[in-house]
């Protein structure tokens, strides 16, 4: 029996060698692939022990990492006015993942991005812990804070988006009500879970970024698109006459549609386009929209970025704005005053204002101005990108004149030290629109002849004015405060 015993001993050695060869393959040859597999939760956990990069705005640190003495080494902190910046920064949570820029710029912030490879290598050899890159946003902290204070001091639900027309830089992105991302980034799991439970079940949806993730009926602000389509296609000029009647029957139906408060459009039988735009007369725009036609209206809307692919310049995902289906003239009439199925993000409304301000050239909006390596050397700088001419400079100029006239006709208008071009909107919504407080809109840019800032404000459900709310009375004052803050500073 001894010969087979010796052979069995050899077989056992072969078995152990096979195990070792396989283990070597797994732990040495294939190890890198497996380590970098995104499903490997150890990678994520390693990130917590690495110093994550900063997110900042004009020298203000919005998100940073501070060293702790617990086993995760670093705590993510949102030191300055966290609720005001939450829609931009998002949160960074061990349990619930990431949102906002924390998610969009994660490879850079965590230091995993390939552009940081060389530095990681140096860090490895010099024995320094790898660090993440910094993200510098385009936000103007003054405007951001004013916008947030204005919205929250009155308890408004809504959003404010401001853009630099010549570049597309997003200067303000506020969504209210908001939340404190510090509550979700802590290392205390129970506290984090409690905060998550509270925030995610809150009916006011504090974690919803209304500026980009939510669409609303644009109401009368959409009249700028109808006007732009009419002017660009030669359908009508500013002096062409339209009905001034207080109400109009939608083509092919018995449904009537009326002007705000049922008033006539001025004191004549007809009103010019200029007058209709200034007074925001619904009946005239139903007529104008039908005259323009669905195809041209849709084309013009697309030129302003409505219903086209989410521009990649904003790293945070943007909900798609849409004109909706326009099957007949009745639908076209309703759509022409920004109702029915037209729905837009506040960002897109701000883009419309910025495009008109920029002489009709639509710039791609963006939120990240620069990225910096941990040693503060520049990694990348965003170059403004033009995504097309929505209207000619002449049409843009005419639209500006119309919007200046509209501002003069809006409550509180004309008191600023600079000229504002604006359009208000009071959008009905809900299943019983007559008795549901309307959304109050205001889009504007200033100074009208040398625009520095374009802005869109929405206050959901009439803010504090309920059914009596209008864009001019509720949303406009907020936008003017933000414009004041932005223009005074620069």
């Amino acid at each position: 029996m001894n010969t087979p015993l010796r052979r069995v001993a050899v077989a056992v050695m072969v078995m152990v060698v096979a195990l070792l060869v396989n283990a070597t393959y797994l732990q040495v040859v294939k190890a890198d692939d497996l380590r970098s597999d995104p499903r490997n939760s150890r990678v994520l956990l390693d990130e917590y022990s690495r110093q994550r990069g900063q997110i900042s705005a004009g020298g203000t640190v919005l998100a940073g990492s501070v060293a702790t003495d617990d086993r995760y080494k670093y705590l993510r902190e949102y030191p300055s006015d966290p609720s005001a910046y939450a829609p931009v920064t998002g949160f960074y949570s061990m349990q619930y993942g990431k949102t906002g820029l924390e998610l969009a710029e994660d490879p850079l912030l965590s230091g995993n991005d390939s552009s940081l490879f060389g530095r990681r290598l140096i860090d490895m050899f010099s024995g320094r812990d790898p660090r993440g890159a910094n993200v510098l946003t385009t936000l103007n902290p003054m405007m951001q804070q004013v916008a947030y204070e204005q919205m929250t001091s009155k308890g408004y639900t809504g959003a404010v988006v401001a853009i630099e027309p010549s570049t597309g830089k997003i200067l303000t992105m506020v969504s209210t009500p908001s939340y404190d991302p510090n509550e979700l980034s802590g290392h205390d799991g129970a506290a984090g879970r409690a905060a998550w439970e509270r925030l995610s079940t809150d009916p006011s949806q504090p974690m919803l970024n209304r500026a980009v993730s939510q669409t609303y009926p644009p109401g009368s602000t959409f009249k700028t698109i109808v006007t732009a389509a009419a002017l660009s296609n030669g359908v009508a000029g500013p002096n062409d006459q339209f009905t001034a009647a207080p109400n109009i029957t939608l083509p092919g139906t018995s449904t009537t549609l009326e002007n705000y408060n049922g008033s006539t459009c001025g004191d004549q039988a007809t009103a010019s386009l200029y007058e209709a735009f200034r007074r925001s007369c619904n009946t005239a725009f139903v007529e104008l929209g039908v005259k323009v036609g669905a195809a041209k209206l849709k084309d013009e809307a697309a030129a302003f970025g409505i219903g086209v692919e989410d521009p990649p310049g904003v790293p945070i995902p943007v909900a798609e704005s849409t004109v909706g289906p326009i099957p007949d003239n009745a639908a076209l009439g309703q759509s022409s005053i920004g109702q029915r199925d037209v729905s837009m993000t506040p960002l897109n409304v701000a883009v419309i204002a910025a495009t008109i301000a920029n002489g009709g050239t639509r710039m791609q909006p963006y939120l990240v101005d620069q990225t910096q390596a941990p040693d503060l050397s520049e990694l990348s700088k965003t170059k403004p990108v033009s995504i097309g001419q929505a209207v000619s400079p002449q049409v843009a100029s005419t639209l500006t004149d119309l919007m200046v006239a509209s501002e003069a006709n809006t409550a509180g208008g004309g008191r600023s030290p600079y000229q504002i071009a604006s359009k208000t909107g009071t959008a009905e919504h809900g299943s019983n629109p007559r008795n549901t407080p309307p959304h109050a809109w205001y889009m504007a840019f200033a100074p009208a002849q040398n625009p520095k800032i374009a802005i869109a404000v929405i206050v959901e459900n009439g803010g504090d004015r309920a059914l009596a709310a209008t864009g001019g009375s509720v949303a406009a004052p907020i936008a003017r405060s933000v414009l004041d803050a932005g223009l005074a500073g620069g």
């Binding site: 029996m1 001993a9 152990v16 096979a18 283990a23 732990q27 294939k30 497996l34 490997n40 799991g189």
Partner: protein, 490 residues
């Protein structure tokens, strides 16, 4: 069988003054004590490292576990000194080191669980290391009892059929019990009663090895009966294949009814090798291999759980979130460990499900790296080879087969477990001997160690000196037949 040692014939003339008294035969017990002290040292240092990197402070657990470890193996050593003085000095220290390492890893995973519980604000589970110490204690009680009770392991041969029957029944009980008493995590291999649960398969394994050693010694003729000469070797006659077919059917039954691929592979492989050693015929290995292949093809075709295991083995990441989760996590763990490991207490082995039992080898691979895994496999290899050496050295066939079976079963188990978690072969749910958490496994393996030590004691004990060379049979006086005396009474 080896021939009896040649009689020490007195052919030489006695030197003047006669022979000096022979030195006492070396027992090597002090070597064992030294190695045990080394094992205790490694275990204690490892506990320090774990605590230092996990808690950043040293708790009383070290003293508790360290003292318990010292006391248990001190007693075991004394028992070996008293009851098996000539036993192989490596077996007990290797088991002590493996058991100590298991204890360290279980304690380390306890700490991870406690941390998670603190993080989740749930109650901290009672530490499994305490249980493991208790099971180790019971295991050593079983071990010492075997040394004392079993004066001569050959007495076991008398109970061949009884033990075999008990083994089969133990193996079959979980299959016959309703699932709620026998199923844990999908494997029907338990007996679960309130306040008590065990895996009878662990014990059945040893009983069946004893049974087969007995049967093979008694009925070797049955297996060696001349058969046909075919393909260059002697094949057994079909009618002699009954016993192995029965084992095959039993193993398939275990696989089908208990969904336990590991145990059926373990038992069948061990029996096959024992037959080979007993008969010295390769033909049996070929037949057995064929039956094994047939069994698996058959099982793969018919049974879903076998198919799932094999598919998961081939493409572990395809169903990452379900069947592939364990093996994927295990591979991530090995890859994270790399060559040198993350260091004890610094990895995240708790990411792998069942890290304390089926996947404890992954914990070794992650925290001690390929180097640590190699060291552990070498310990097992030395243990198995020392066991096979015992089989070579021992003089009786029953002892040879028993020692070979017991050693080889550890070899298969290591191969199946380590091969399973490193994706060399499909995953099966077996524990790692002496390291994994679990009472049944520890008790059974300590019983195995006891038997092996007992056989090695017999193998290494100096042969009883014969008073005189046996007289030729024709010259011998008739003797009164007596029962064979056991050695302890000599």
């Amino acid at each position: 069988m080896s021939a009896p040692p040649p009689p020490s014939a007195g052919a030489f003339p006695s030197p003047p003054g006669g022979f000096a008294p022979a030195p006492p035969p070396s027992t090597r017990r002090n070597q064992e004590l030294l190695l045990l002290a080394g094992a205790a040292g490694i275990t204690t240092v490892s506990l320090f490292i774990v605590e230092a990197s996990q808690e950043q402070s040293i708790t009383t657990d070290i003293a508790k576990y360290g003292v318990a470890f010292l006391a248990l193996f001190g007693i075991a050593h004394l028992a070996v000194r008293r009851f098996a003085p000539f036993a192989d000095p490596l077996l007990l220290p290797i088991v002590a080191l493996l058991n100590g390492l298991g204890l360290v890893l279980i304690h380390r995973l306890d700490l991870a669980e406690a941390q998670k519980a603190a993080y989740d604000a749930t109650s901290v589970p009672s530490p499994d290391a305490n249980q493991q110490i208790m099971w180790t204690g019971l295991g050593i009680v079983v071990f010492i009892s075997l040394l004392i009770v079993l004066r001569d392991y050959r007495t076991l041969a008398r109970y061949t059929y009884t033990l075999g029957l008990v083994g089969l029944v133990a193996l079959a009980i979980p299959a016959l019990l309703p699932s709620r008493f026998s199923e844990v995590n999908g494997a029907k291999i338990w007996i679960r009663l309130p306040g008590f649960s065990m895996q009878p398969g662990e014990f059945a394994k040893i009983l069946l090895i004893i049974f087969f050693a007995g049967v093979l010694v008694a009925k070797r003729d049955l297996f060696t009966a001349a058969g046909k000469h075919f393909l260059g070797m002697e094949w057994p006659r079909p009618r002699d294949m009954g016993p192995i077919l029965i084992v095959w059917i039993v193993c398939i039954g275990v696989l089908v009814l208990e969904k336990d691929l590991g145990t059926s592979l373990l038992i069948f492989g061990t029996v096959l090798v024992m037959i080979y050693i007993a008969t010295e015929r390769v033909g049996w290995l070929i037949i057995g291999g064929g039956l094994l292949a047939l069994g698996f093809v058959f099982a793969y075709q018919l049974f879903g759980h076998v198919r799932v295991r094999v598919d998961t083995w081939l493409n572990p990441f395809d169903d990452y979130h379900n069947t592939g989760y364990q093996i994927s996590q295990s591979m991530f763990g090995f890859a994270t460990g790399g060559l040198a490991g993350t260091g004890l207490g610094s990895g995240r082995p708790q990411q792998v499900p069942f890290a304390k039992t089926d996947f404890i080898v992954t914990t070794i691979g992650e925290e001690l790296g390929l180097i640590g895994l190699t060291a552990v496999l070498m310990l097992f290899l030395i243990f198995i080879v020392r066991g096979l050496r015992t089989a070579l050295a021992v003089r009786d066939s029953f002892g040879k087969l028993l020692a070979a079976g017991l050693s080889f079963t550890i070899a298969i188990q290591i191969f199946v477990v380590v091969g399973g978690v490193t994706k060399l072969i499909p995953l099966t749910g077996l524990t790692t001997p002496f390291i994994s958490y679990g009472g049944s496994s520890l008790l059974a393996n300590y019983a195995l160690l006891g038997l092996l030590i007992k056989i090695s004691d017999a193998a290494r004990a100096p042969a009883p000196t014969r008073k005189r060379p046996p007289a030729p049979i024709a010259d011998a006086a008739t003797e009164m037949v007596r029962r064979p005396e056991s050695r302890a009474s000599e």
